[in-house]
């Protein structure tokens, strides 16, 4: 078959203040017409650099192609002049980016930005261009395209913008579309829609897609071939089925193992590749993966393995064949081995929990006033949380899921009294928190702690790690410096950092390590309750697994109670005993983890679960995903709030709000006709 894109021995260097840094090297890959190729790998492995190198966008970031070649459709892009390059960018190849909101110029309308592309490359009149732009917007599934056309990026939702981004990329009918994590920033429901759209468009327009993702599930669903990158090199390259069936590189193997699936055994620890991806400035000698590799041998320390053909695929590992043999031999053994519970008391059983509830939420609401003006008296509100009640038992992990904007974080913040509640009660250890004096509340805070999503924003960048973790000690216990230091160092080791990190600053740590710092701070006072708001969402899969494991270990040790707010349903399922599903400020379903995923009663829950991409290319299925997007909480739909998107909505749903009722023991749902 004809190669649309052919990359040979690509090496990209960046000129930095400290000198030259090689971001990727020896990257050799090709894409054929009409093919979808996925690049996967942890954060920092060079995926984005590869894609930008193809577009030669690295020119603008002090980067240069120092070796190798990129040939697109017979044209060598490596040495093309800027002018010629411009005529190819956007026309023959186009890009879709991760953050749709950041990828549009905020001060121009969506329409004008699409037209701009068309006019740049095609000799067409403005009105023709507008026509085409409108057609594209409609084609990518944007309703009321004429209105959207004249709107500004901030007036569209993320999902909508990503569709518009796709429309813009397709404006000139490119042969190759490079999509760099096009769905990472989106909800699962929207992700499913966008991926579906991409598939559809690819077939319709006959283009090739280079899809970059770190989600193996997405790769499994989309890719024809998969390329695995690590530390700037390709470590494995195979057909999608081959790769999932039999990974030849220990890194690929690790990645696949790290995936939490919907049927993972909740009683066992999640698998994770130990350590983290090295910084470009101090890559290890030899095989870059050797410090994290369970198979590393002497040779790996010294000599980097080349990418070679093995079993109809390419792998860069000295031990590839060995590993494959071993796997085939040990497959069954491995399976059984991990299935055995590691520790006895690790089994999270209902019985283990005392039935005494630690936290009880009754009719909790939080409204944000909006649009108040001088002349009108009627006030409108964003109902971020609207009459939510549930309770969390001691030692339990309660998971909270729902699309973005459904009110999860707000609920958490109100619960911790970081914001005043509008109505309702939060009873913690038998006391109504909102009635406490501020001093008593501060005391109470010892027992309830918080871990946030953003590992970069949740620690004061100017403080040393020791001080950050020591802050709660300093506030609540007047212990001596020495005691404090001992305690902090103890905590550091507990969360998997080293004592010597005491004097370092947060920016010297990776995201996962920072999250560990945040956890150490949260548990410093031996709290009873920890709220983890998307605590792992921003992390790589393997790091996610490490953190989840850590949280579970801590829970076991200290009888912690968690409220775990999550994005990734797999992870929430794995960690939680019970799960609540929120939609537009309301709790729509609540059940134990297994029950919820096995027998989702609410159509929303069902849709959510079905939107999850499955990391198994053999299991391709027809998706029944939720259509549309979450409405604005400022004026939620009447009746059942979900009726606008519900496949089973009836007239009743439009009018009557369903009651939150128990359909089985412990399984609550707010739906007129539960599935």
């Amino acid at each position: 078959m004809e190669k649309l894109l052919d990359i040979q021995q690509l090496k990209v260097d960046f000129t930095k203040k400290v000198g030259e840094v090689t971001a990727i090297k020896d990257v050799t890959l090709h894409i054929q017409a009409g093919e979808t190729v996925c690049i996967v790998g942890e954060s920092g492995s060079g995926k984005t650099v590869t894609s930008k190198a193809i577009m030669r966008l690295i020119d603008y970031e002090n980067g240069k192609i120092s070796d190798g070649s990129i040939v697109l459709d017979g044209i060598d892009l490596t040495h093309l002049t800027n002018k010629k390059l411009r005529s190819i960018r956007g026309k023959k190849m186009a890009m879709i980016f991760q953050e749709p909101m950041a990828a549009f110029d905020p001060v121009f309308t969506i329409g004008s930005q699409i037209i701009e592309t068309i006019l740049e490359h095609k000799q067409s009149s403005k009105s023709e261009a507008k026509e085409r732009a409108l057609y594209l917007l409609k084609r990518v599934g944007i309703s009321a395209a004429e209105i959207r056309f004249n709107q500004y990026p901030n007036e569209l939702s993320g999902g909508m913008l990503q569709r518009a981004m796709i429309a813009m990329a397709l404006a000139c009918g490119p042969d190759l579309v490079i999509a760099d994590e096009p769905t990472t920033a989106l909800d699962v429901t929207i992700q499913a829609q966008i991926l579906h759209l991409l598939q559809e468009l690819k077939e319709e327009m006959g283009m090739s897609i280079l899809l970059i993702t770190h989600d193996m599930g997405v790769a499994a669903e989309m890719a024809d071939r998969i390329i695995v990158m690590y530390a700037g090199r390709i470590v494995e390259h195979a057909n999608v089925n081959d790769l999932f069936e039999m990974p030849h590189h220990p890194y690929t193997y690790g990645l696949l193992q790290s995936i939490t699936t919907l049927d993972s055994d909740r009683s066992k620890e999640l698998y994770s590749i130990k350590g983290s991806i090295p910084a470009l400035s101090d890559l290890p000698n030899g095989c870059e993966f050797h410090p994290r590799c369970p198979y590393a041998a002497e040779r790996c320390f010294i000599e980097a393995p080349p990418l070679v053909e093995v079993n109809n695929r390419q792998t860069a590992c000295w031990h590839a064949e060995e590993i494959v043999d071993k796997h085939i031999r040990e497959q069954s053994v491995v399976e059984t081995k991990v299935k055995v519970p590691i520790q006895k008391d690790f089994l999270p059983s209902q019985s283990k929990h005392s039935s005494e509830s630690l936290l009880e939420i009754q009719g909790l609401s939080k409204y944000y006033p909006i649009g108040k003006n001088v002349f009108s008296r009627n006030q409108s509100y964003i109902r971020a949380v609207d009459n939510v009640s549930f309770s969390i038992k001691k030692g339990e992990t309660f998971g909270l899921v729902g699309e973005s904007g459904s009110g999860k974080s707000t609920l958490g913040r109100v619960l911790l009294q970081l914001e005043k509640l509008t109505s309702g009660k939060v009873i913690f250890q038998g006391q109504d928190l909102s009635k406490l004096s501020s001093k008593a509340l501060r005391e109470k805070r010892k027992d309830m702690q918080l871990i946030y999503q953003d590992p970069y924003g949740s620690v004061n960048p100017r403080w040393r790690v020791g001080d950050i973790i020591g802050e709660p000690l300093q506030v609540h216990e007047n212990s001596s410096n020495k005691e404090k230091q001992d305690r902090v160092q103890e905590l550091l080791e507990l969360v998997g950092l080293s004592k010597s990190d005491y004097d370092r600053y947060p920016h010297e740590f990776s995201g996962g390590q920072r999250q560990r710092i945040a956890i150490a701070r949260a548990i410093a006072l031996n709290p009873q309750f920890v709220l983890a708001d998307e605590a792992v969402s921003a992390l790589d899969v393997s790091v996610q697994a490490q953190i989840v494991n850590l949280l579970q270990n801590l829970q076991r040790k200290w009888e912690l109670t968690y409220l775990f707010i999550g994005h990734g349903l797999n992870i929430v399922r794995h960690i939680s005993d019970r799960i609540g599903v929120m939609y537009l400020g309301q709790l729509v379903e609540m059940a134990s983890s297994e029950e919820l995923f096995l027998h989702p009663a609410h159509h929303y829950t069902k849709g959510l679960i079905e939107s999850i991409p499955i990391a198994n290319p053999t299991l391709s299925r027809e998706r029944i995903t939720i259509q549309g997007e979450i409405p604005s909480p400022a004026n939620p739909p009447t009746g059942c709030r979900f009726h606008t998107r519900c496949p089973a909505a009836t007239a009743r749903c439009r009018e009557e709000q369903p009651i939150f009722r128990e359909i089985h023991s412990g399984h609550w749902v707010a739906c007129h006709d539960p599935a």
Binding site: V18, G19, N460, P472, V475, H476, H507, F509
Partner: protein, 296 residues
């Protein structure tokens, strides 16, 4: 192909050493060093002028007025016959006092007002910002002029006048920063630990809202010398035995055609100092910004 492998190997070795070593010598580093040296030099001048200045700044050599820069008088002599170089050296003290003190006072008061308004929010914010707005409607130099005229000329009053005129700008910047810092997650995190508000303020909010204030301050240093010299231009300055740079500049302006050096050298000192402070300020801001200072 072989060659390439070789070069790669060669390249790899120094890369290791590079990261281990100090950063290589770059233009911006050079500027920073020069800037630091300049500032240190001026501070040195302000503290120990005797060690540097060749003559007494008040000695009037009536035989040698308006003489061109020469080996004996590096910056020439002024119309009193004083050595301009010595005057600049000695003048650095009051110049630095004026700019540093006024910026300090202005930024502290402005910072407190802005910080308080931004931190408290709500009605407090509205009221304080109204006051700032009122101050802003009166242009800075007018305010300085009125205050200098009201209080009479003295070093302290000049400082106060210049400080007062810079308060609104500092307050605004501080408020903006405060509002953005308030939303950071580590503030929430600290609150959820149970840290009392005032401690949060001192531990987390203040240090993190500093950098824009710092940048403003570096600009403010220059502006304050300028406002000070504007006051002496308008006749509201102070006549001291040893004039500050602004006053020197203002005094020498009538002699540009016959003795350009009288005002040029103090002028250059102002520029050089402001330049150096700005370079350092930029660097400081960068290093305050965890994003740009991060080595990872």
């Amino acid at each position: 192909m072989k060659e390439m492998v070789n070069t790669e190997k060669v390249l790899r070795v120094p890369k290791w050493t590079l990261t281990k070593q100090k950063q290589p010598f770059s233009a911006s580093k050079l500027f920073l060093y020069v800037a630091v040296i300049i500032v240190l030099f001026f501070i040195g001048c302000a503290l120990f002028p005797k060690l540097i200045a060749p003559y007494s700044p008040t000695y009037m050599n009536t035989e040698l007025i308006l003489s061109k820069p020469s080996a004996a008088h590096l910056f020439g002599t002024d119309y009193f016959g004083r050595d301009v170089f010595s005057l600049v050296i000695y003048g650095s003290r009051d110049s630095l006092i004026i700019c540093v003190a006024s910026v300090l006072i202005g930024s502290i008061i402005g910072g407190i007002i802005g910080g308080f308004a931004g931190y408290m929010g709500g009605i407090v914010d509205v009221i304080f910002m109204r006051i700032i707005e009122i101050l802003m409607t009166i242009p800075g130099i007018l305010l300085a002029l009125a205050i200098a005229a009201a209080l009479g000329p003295s070093l302290l009053n000049i400082v106060l006048a210049v400080a007062a005129s810079s308060i609104p700008a500092f307050a605004r910047v501080m408020r903006g920063q405060m509002i953005s810092i308030k939303k950071r997650q580590y503030i929430d995190a600290s609150r959820s630990i149970g840290t009392p508000s005032w401690k949060i303020f001192i531990w987390h909010i203040l240090p993190n809202s500093f950098s824009p204030l710092l940048v403003m301050g570096t600009i403010g240093l220059g502006t304050s010398i300028l406002i000070g010299s504007g006051l002496s231009f308008l006749g509201l300055g102070i006549i001291k035995e040893i004039p500050d740079w602004g006053a020197l500049l203002s005094q020498g302006r009538g002699y540009l055609t016959v003795g350009w050096w009288i005002s040029t050298f103090p002028g250059l000192s102002i520029t050089l100092f402001v330049l150096a402070i700005n370079i350092i300020g930029d660097k400081l801001r960068d290093s305050f910004d965890p994003k740009t200072s991060s080595t990872r």
